[in-house]
Symmetry: C2
């Protein structure tokens, strides 16, 4: 969208898509943030509101898809414009899924109210969510500013998210081994942690899409996005040792 | 694709996309099937092969995206053709993610080799995967035959998948409570079960996309696709009671 087009209404259409993406990003962020608050504060009223708001993102995604397809069909855009439009279709799908993660987390609040965990669990989960949301903020900022440099910087944070997820996973597992009465709630917390890890993955997807919009190709290097907890084996001692 | 177009090459392009979707479906199915075999048979060699094959779906998705966008830009298709092309973009994303689920399951094999569970766990996981894959088969068949009736039938199986997931979830939880030494491996099995449940969700997404292609709108009734395990609370007795 750097240069203006001869047809002004085309610029307006592209602006509309970019604005919608920014709105979706804000909404998705807000949902995730409040789903975590609902867990930390054991607030099922807030959780219900987060769940109810998911539909906003579903509709926004459909709206972007329809508008984008119409623009492609009517304007036959080429090069960077075409990539920009296709990119918004991809980004809206990722943002919709980030909202889903918030909804999933909020849904677990009801199952976790009976037994409260030690404050440290919630703190770590909160810190982990903040990290993933910071990643999302940065990638949306890079998109708004069309900055390739910022995009490359974002992708470097993937490792931090993976490391924090692995540490949280281990912590919860060893806690379950020590206190089997907390197994159910810890299982729900494990799924919450997994949801947050996936938010990081979606932020990385968006970063790759922005890279594609700006350059015409996807970043070459395989990002190290994999869930490292696959390696968390069965040996109790190993869990505790690595968890120190 | 029911009626032929005046421009023959346009038909060929649409055929190419439909064929690619069918290929992706077969590949994704094969990956999931073998990831489950790798777990049941504790075959890390097979697991590694499944993990390595994921790239095929990544490339197929990108290929479909690029071709679809090109066709839209060059041919300016309208109505059902446009929906067909947009639909392939959506379906390829869902199929790529189903392959990811297979890869995720395969990755857990390494963490589960040390302690083997009772055969019944693997049997239930296998049965659950078969159910989800049958759902995928039916939806791909409905797409190939452009049959709205079949699509509606597929969506009715969602409940079966949810019920089976909830039962597996409860079974694993109560097993963890009884035998805390198996917590780690059961946690990995829980994530496998969650992956299979998500395969069912993706199959439902595809069913909705086919519905959209054939009719021009998405099915109205909200499908009951949600993970019912959110309700699995903390009370041990409740788990066991409901698990009978």
């Amino acid at each position: 969208m750097s240069a203006q087009h001869i047809v002004r209404s085309f610029d307006k259409e592209l602006d509309y898509l970019a604005k919608k993406i920014a709105e979706m990003g804000k909404h998705a962020r807000h949902m995730v943030e409040r789903s975590i608050s609902a867990i930390v504060q054991d607030d099922s009223f807030l959780a219900d509101r987060v769940i109810a708001e998911d539909i906003v993102l579903d509709e926004a995604e459909r709206d972007i898809d329809e508008k984008a397809i119409l623009i492609i069909a009517l304007r036959q855009p080429m090069a960077v414009d075409l990539r920009e439009i296709v990119g918004t279709i991809r980004m809206s799908a990722d943002l919709e899924r980030i909202g889903d993660m918030g909804k999933n987390i909020a849904k677990r609040v009801a199952a976790m109210t009976e037994i409260r965990q030690s404050a440290s669990f919630y703190k770590n989960l909160e810190a982990f969510a903040s990290l993933a949301l910071r990643q999302l903020d940065e990638v949306l900022d890079a998109y708004a500013k069309q900055s390739l440099e910022r995009i490359d910087a974002v992708r470097e944070h993937d490792d931090e998210i993976d490391a924090m997820y692995t540490s949280l996973f281990r912590e919860l597992l060893s806690y379950m081994v020590e206190y089997p009465s907390n197994i159910t709630v810890c299982t729900h917390l494990l799924f919450c942690a997994k949801n947050i890890e996936r938010i990081g993955d979606h932020a990385t997807n968006i970063a790759e899409t922005v890279h594609y919009i700006l350059t015409g190709y996807y970043p070459l290097s395989e990002r190290p996005k994999d869930d490292q907890t696959y390696e968390v084996g069965l040996d109790k001692k190993r869990i505790f040792q690595k968890n120190v």
